[in-house]
Amino acid sequence: MSETILEAHGLVKRFGDFEAVRGIDVSIARGESFGFLGPNGAGKTSTMRMISAVSAPSSGSIRIFGLDPTTDGPAVRARLGVVPQEDNLELELSVRLNLEMFGRYFDLPRRVIRERTRELLAFAQLSERAEDRVDDLSGGMKRRLTIARALINQPELLILDEPTTGLDPQARHLLWDRLYRLKRDGVTLIVTTHYMDEAEQLCDRLVVMDHGRIVAEGAPRALIEQHSSREVVELRFAADSHEEYLDVLAPFAPRVEALPDRALLYVEDGDATLHDIHASGLTPASALVRRSSLEDVFLRLTGRTLVD
């Protein structure tokens, strides 16, 4: 087992009477890609702010690089890269100056900053926009710049809060590609997301969070195998509610779930089940067979969907 880069025990964050994070334990190894999966309001962002050495836990302990962030905040942050949920770039400054100024915050020598800025502009595919004001960039470009900016100090640990929320599919894939490269270069990644496909793509291991607690932990495939069936049949009926089909569908699968817009049947062989359904005279408006995903794991564990 490789070196532990981050370790947290009994982490709690309270805002007044509200408990956003209710005692979580995580341990992340160097070089790992670790994910926090959960819907909005699950406590992911509060957790991220604690592990990025910005906000102090209400109780519990964290060690990052073996240091305590509440007392050694500056030393910890010097070795971290943080990509917040919402871009907080300097809108009035050019792309280049955004990177250079950030380098100054880390007290890097100017020569090093210039060199890394050039590399990071290429990495973020922004070399041609270097002198443009950030205000004029597209959403995807701003996001790539925020990531590039977080890399100016060559962090050992990169923390990304919802890195692709609000981006179009093409921009997402470009971003994922950049993150793979970092992973390949040995950077430890911590990602929060409420997209199950993103979690499956990026994470070696993840925890599922709900209401401030961790409800499951493991590798994406292992979680799916443990908490869901191999395949899922999705049926849509021309009806106002899919609840009324629960009884009719129950004989076809060990587990059936009704969502507002569709019914889900958890089975081992989807095609066979679909064949049985059609044979029984049921006529869904549409039908689809797919593999189980983390979305199904989440539904199983919490009774809710990730994106509402």
Binding site: L80, M101, Y105
Partner: protein, 262 residues
């Protein structure tokens, strides 16, 4: 608070925030340069017009031209207005709209560095603007004594007091609409702090109220220094401004921490 602030005073980290502000303002150099012209326009307009209509004003037994009476008050006012623009308007933008401070706090810098960096910046701006104001004042013949040079350090104290109060006020501002309230406070302070006419014009009971205005204390202090009329009353005036600054800074530091790292 002091135990937290003092160690970072010499710190290079707070200078990075200063550097950041400088970088942003460099892209708006025209604005920076044009700031020089505003007091020039005001002093010129008073020199052309009101100077003749009002004649001379008696300060400490010495008659001086209206322009020379108003100029030190305008310097104090310009320190106040600069603090409102920089410490309230711009800081609000970075704190609540662009979240620029959140980005800074993900680096080795912490909240104290941010607050101190903003104070350094406010002081530097005040130093440049007050110096250029004093040059304009001299060019237009509105200075009476060479002691006017003392207005320069005094302007820094005035600016520090207003900037600290401004930073504290900013933390209570929730939306752009609240800026209407800022001008509701700022305008009467500007108009009624004996900047345009001596406090003797007021009835006695109102004069006591005016004396509580930090701008009145600042303007009167500047006027005395500019004329070379020194008096022990300057000490409580200065102490009042310093005390306001300290209170403002303490509140600002606490509230900044609560907002940025809850």
């Amino acid at each position: 608070m002091l135990t937290r602030v003092l160690p970072s005073f010499g710190s290079r980290r707070s200078w990075r925030v200063f550097e950041r502000n400088f970088m942003v303002y460099r892209t708006q150099w025209l604005m920076l340069v044009s700031g020089f012209f505003e007091p020039l326009f005001y002093l010129l307009s008073i020199g052309i017009g009101l100077n003749r209509l009002v004649g001379t004003i008696d300060v400490g037994g010495r008659p001086i031209s209206y322009a020379a009476f108003v100029a030190p008050g305008m310097l104090a006012t310009s320190m106040m207005n600069g603090a409102v623009i920089d410490s309230i308007f711009n800081t609000f933008f970075r704190l609540r709209i662009s979240h620029a401070y959140d980005a800074v706090l993900s680096t080795p810098l912490d909240v104290t560095d941010v607050a101190l960096g903003e104070v350094w910046w406010a002081l530097a701006r005040a130093a440049v603007y007050s110096a250029s104001f004093l040059v304009c004042m001299t060019l237009l013949g509105d200075t009476v004594s060479a002691w006017v040079i003392l207005c320069w350090p005094a302007a820094l104290v005035v600016s520090l007091a207003f900037s600290s109060l401004g930073l504290a006020a900013t933390t209570y501002i929730r939306s752009w609409q609240d800026f209407d309230l800022v001008s509701l406070v700022q305008l009467p302070i500007f108009l009624f702090s004996a900047t345009f006419f001596p406090i003797s014009v007021y009835p006695r009971w109102l004069g006591a109220l005016v004396a509580a205005s930090p701008l009145y204390q600042a303007a009167t202090l500047m006027r005395g220094l500019g004329l070379g009329q020194f008096s022990w009353v300057m000490i409580p005036r200065l102490a009042y401004l310093v005390a306001l600054g300290a209170v403002g800074l303490t509140i600002a530091a606490r509230r900044f921490r609560r907002i940025l790292v809850p």
